[in-house]
């Protein structure tokens, strides 16, 4: 077993070189490089945490924005609704007014026309009386040889017209 049989000859060299090379490892790698590697990792973790926090803040802001937008939208909707109903009301009123106007105009026209019709009828009846009186005078002349005055004929005809 060389570990024991060579012990007396080699122990000092073994210990010496072990200390030398482990010392080099410790100071170059352990003290020199490892802290830098760890710092890189810490930086990265910090950055990731910061990014996550920023993303979270952004999300919260977006949600608040959305909430505000919903509120504005609801308000605008309500206002639009009000406007629409007001317009509807106005339009209905305008329709009602113009309808009333139109019907008044039509009523006036109708009554004027009725008056005109009555007048015409009266005038026509007057004509009939005159014609009937003339005819009556004529008939009395021819049939009975009587000369009836125009006024008498008129009176006779009038009575018939009045009853007739």
């Amino acid at each position: 077993m060389p570990q024991i049989s060579q012990l007396a000859d080699t122990y000092f060299s073994q210990v010496f070189w072990m200390l030398v090379f482990f010392g080099l490892t410790f100071f170059i790698v352990g003290r020199g490089m490892v802290p830098k590697v760890m710092a890189t990792m810490a930086d990265r973790n910090q950055r990731i945490a910061a990014d996550l926090a920023a993303a979270e803040a952004g999300r919260a802001a977006a949600e608040a924005e959305q909430e505000a937008w919903f509120e504005t939208e609801a308000q605008q909707r309500a206002r639009a609704h009000e406007l629409v109903s007001a317009a509807k009301h106005q339009a209905a009123q305008a329709t009602y007014t113009s309808l009333a106007d139109a019907s008044a105009r039509i009523d006036a026209q109708v009554s004027a026309a009725e008056t005109r019709i009555n007048d015409a009828r009266k005038a026509a009846l007057g004509e009939f009386e005159v014609i009937a009186a003339d005819v009556t005078q004529d008939i009395a002349q021819r049939v009975a040889g009587l000369s009836v005055s125009a006024d008498d004929a008129r009176g006779a005809v009038k009575g018939a017209f009045a009853h007739g």
Binding site: P2, T10, Y11, W17, F22, G30, M33, R44
Partner: protein, 261 residues
């Protein structure tokens, strides 16, 4: 057969000075640059290159950076769970310890023999693992006494011990505490050596079975080879587990020093 094939399973652990450095000495002690020292150097270089590749400091890491970061993150979380927030300052030491042992174990398992290079697993020498375990133990002692002064001895008396039991419990706990550096270093050394001996013994079966003729090769050589493949996979697992155990136990001991009970 001209030459009798002889496989010495222990030869792989032999330490030999390289580059004619066998006479190097400091204060009368021999510090020859051995094959063991060469593989320590290689582990250091490979580890430096590995971590250097992860030092690009990009926000979105590539594969290499991801690999290095997963190792540092692994050590960081191990210290966080075992020691707590006070453990952060030990990350450089535990990381160096874990990665150095891990790379040493893996490099020793590399099939470089195919290219004529013989890997040497210096973690299979208790002179090497002992340095690491004594270092860990020394840190525990220094931190413990610096932080808690003589209160550190209360570590050996668990809460709720009856007064009459305090001396024997203290004695038993003290022994178990003092055994820690030995168990720490020997565990790694034994695990690595056992695996390599097993592989070497099995490979000797393959070689001598092959030399002894086709029947013996089929009966002993081929099954041994299949078993070797499986054990190689197991050894890769052991290499990782032993590095992990060493680092984890150091964390547990540091927790005693940092937080007592």
């Amino acid at each position: 057969m001209a030459v009798e094939a002889k496989v010495d399973p222990m030869h792989q652990f032999a330490i030999e000075p390289l580059f004619g450095s066998s006479n190097w000495a400091i204060a009368g002690h021999n510090v020859a640059f051995t094959n063991s020292a060469l593989w320590m150097a290689l582990a250091t270089v490979v580890l430096v290159v590995f971590v250097l590749g992860g030092l690009k400091r990009e926000v979105v890491p590539g594969r290499w950076q991801m690999a290095v970061e997963s190792f540092t993150g692994f050590i960081d979380s191990m210290l966080a769970t075992n020691v707590g927030p006070n453990g952060k300052k030990y990350v450089p030491y535990i990381f160096s310890l874990f990665m150095f042992i891990l790379f040493a174990n893996f490099l020793g398992l590399m099939p470089l023999g195919l290219f004529g290079i013989h890997p040497f697993t210096f973690t299979s020498h208790f002179t090497a693992t002992g340095v690491l375990s004594i270092m860990s133990f020394a840190i525990v002692l220094v931190v413990g006494f610096a932080k808690h002064k003589l209160h550190f001895f209360s570590l050996f008396v668990p809460h709720g011990t009856p007064v009459a039991m305090v001396p024997p419990i203290f004695f038993v706990e003290l022994i178990s505490f003092l055994v820690r550096p030995f168990s720490l270093g020997l565990r790694l050394f034994v695990a690595m050596m056992a695996g390599h001996v097993l592989l070497e013994v099995l490979s000797s079966f393959v070689i001598s079975g092959g030399n002894a003729g086709p029947i013996l090769f089929a009966v002993a050589g081929v099954p041994s080879f299949v078993l070797m493949v499986g054990i190689c996979a197991l050894e890769i697992l052991v290499a990782g587990i032993q590095a992990y155990v060493f680092a984890l136990l150091t964390c547990v001991y540091l927790n005693d020093a940092e937080n007592l009970h």
